[in-house]
């Protein structure tokens, strides 16, 4: 028999999304439909990237999945998780670190029971190249470092599902390339199901096994494309990214360009 942890990870480890409608109420009281008829499943340890024009509702969708916004029609079924663990982890667009806590404390506080996790935090700090900054406060860090702390916090809880909302936006491309590689290497040592939101199609194609495109007002699922052969442990090569980029832009010129 598999150990209980492993069972929880494999049995029913699918994320089901079935959103009929999500509406925001504007200040003048008028209802604005944001999302409509979005249905998809994500299998265990699948790496799904979600893209679409900015302001189309990508973050709204992630917040519905994360349970931050429960005011919608439809249902979200999360993968099963260990009784004492978190059902999901979230790397936000803004790093969302507590400025009055050190790097180590920020990571530690994400854990439901932080007491026995000292070694895991130290290991993650080293993997993310943050060991020397462990006792620094977030305001003293560079943007790239803050993103790495947010990434480490996303991984420390070891949740079966990881939501990421443009975690590498608004940083320079060289740092972003490094962070993407760091993400892939971390996913190799702590595999989980990933839903990664980005407006950067090349980033999506570098990382993803499957591409979802959201578009329209209200937004619907414009496409659900399996990306041939998967991105693998290293990510796709620049040549492959460019080939897929041309192909997909050709298919959806009005949405993505």
């Amino acid at each position: 028999m598999a150990p209980p942890d492993e069972m929880a990870r494999t049995a029913g480890a699918t994320l089901h999304i079935d959103i009929t409608a999500k509406t925001f109420t504007r200040h003048d009281g008028e209802a604005v439909p944001v999302l409509r008829d979005i249905r998809f499943d994500i299998g265990s340890r699948e790496r799904v990237v979600l893209t679409g024009p900015s302001g189309c509702g990508k973050t709204t969708l992630l917040n519905l999945i994360a349970g931050l916004d429960r005011d919608f029609d439809g249902a979200v079924t999360l993968p099963e998780h260990r009784g004492d663990g978190l059902p999901l982890s979230y790397v936000f667009q803004d790093p969302c670190l507590l400025p009055w806590r050190t790097v180590r404390e920020n990571i530690r506080l994400a854990l439901p029971e932080p007491a026995q996790s000292g070694e895991r935090i130290t290991w993650l700090l080293e993997k993310m190249d943050l060991a020397s900054a462990a006792d620094s406060y977030p305001q003293t860090l560079s943007t790239g470092m803050s993103r790495r702390v947010a990434l480490a916090r996303g991984f420390v809880v070891d949740a079966p599902l990881l939501l990421m909302d443009e975690p590498f936006s608004s940083i320079d491309e060289r740092t972003a390339v490094r962070l993407r590689k760091l993400l892939l290497s971390q996913l190799e040592s702590t595999p989980c199901t990933v839903l990664f939101v980005t407006h950067n199609l090349r980033e999506a194609l570098f990382l993803g096994d499957r591409l979802l495109i959201l578009s329209g007002r209200p937004a619907t699922l414009a496409a659900d494309l399996p990306l041939a052969s998967g991105a693998g442990k290293q990510g796709r090569t620049p040549a492959e990214v460019e080939r897929l980029h041309t192909e997909i832009i050709g298919k959806f010129p009005e949405i993505l360009s």
């Binding site: 917040n63 994360a66 349970g67 931050l68 978190l86 999901l88 982890s89 979230y90 936000f92 803004d94 969302c96 507590l98 400025p99 009055w100 806590r101 506080l109 994400a110 854990l111 439901p112 406060y137 305001q139 003293t140 916090r153 809880v157």
Partner: protein, 251 residues
């Protein structure tokens, strides 16, 4: 920083010394009966310290300051947090807040004494009611500017109420709590003196009342000076270290 720390006391000492010099000059011009010289006022403070009155009356006043400060901070922070965090609560209670903000301190004190008698509870309640609206306004401002992202982060990582209070809400409100503390202490001890003057038979306010009736200017100045010194000690040993600690994570 090192340069600043060395310079600040020198400037402060010169500044205080020139104030005392001005006072002394003033007493030469106006005559010692209208404006008693510094030495005489300090002499009275010494006498009161020796016979024990100084410690008894300032102690009683300090206890009233601490009691009403504690009550008004706890009530003010709670109400301010709720009003800043929930729009409906703010809409309902905003007119109440305006009412209490504009209610003169003297009216509250007189009514408290009429309704509750000339008691300790009436005195402390009156001071607290005077201060609560100011704390509410400050904390409400802080609660309004709280970062939604941090709230979402706390929610995703399943922070319980205590963990959220300790690591998110209180540190975020800390600068506002510090501001309310500073202005609170300054306001409260002045109101406490009025409350004592009107209806208590001990404390610095009572002493001031007594010497007012005797037209004893030197003693009035002695008691005033004593309290300024005590509040300055409170500022240096409690409020400033607290503010430094609250802001330790800032660059």
């Amino acid at each position: 920083m090192a340069v600043k720390k060395k310079r600040a006391p020198v400037t402060a000492i010169v500044s205080i010394a020139s104030l005392i010099a001005l006072w002394w000059l003033g007493s030469l011009l106006a005559g010692p009966d209208s404006l008693p010289p510094p030495a005489r006022v300090v002499g009275i403070i010494m006498d009161e310290a020796v016979n024990g009155d100084l410690f008894f009356h300032t102690g009683v006043t300090l206890w009233r300051v601490v009691a009403s400060f504690t009550i008004s901070m706890i009530a003010g922070i709670t109400i301010g947090f709720l009003m800043g965090g929930f729009r409906k609560i703010n809409e309902i209670f905003d007119p109440w807040l305006l009412f209490f903000l504009n209610l003169p301190a003297l009216v509250i004190i007189i009514l408290a004494y009429i309704w509750m008698g000339l008691t300790e509870i009436a005195a402390i309640t009156a001071v607290a009611i005077n201060k609560i609206p100011n704390v509410v306004v400050t904390i409400r401002e802080g609660a309004r500017t709280m970062d939604r992202g941090l709230q979402q982060m706390a929610s995703v990582f399943h922070f319980g109420w205590w963990k959220k209070l300790r690591h998110v809400i209180v540190p975020e409100l800390a600068p506002y709590i510090a501001a309310a503390t500073r202005s609170g202490v300054a306001l409260i001890w002045k109101i406490v003196l009025v409350v004592e003057l009107l209806g208590r038979s001990n404390g610095v306010g009572f002493q001031l009342h007594l010497h007012f009736q005797l037209f004893d200017i030197a003693s009035i100045m002695a008691w005033g000076l004593t309290f300024i010194i005590i509040m300055q000690i409170v500022e240096l040993t409690l409020i400033q270290p607290f503010e430094t600690w609250v802001n330790r994570w800032r660059k």
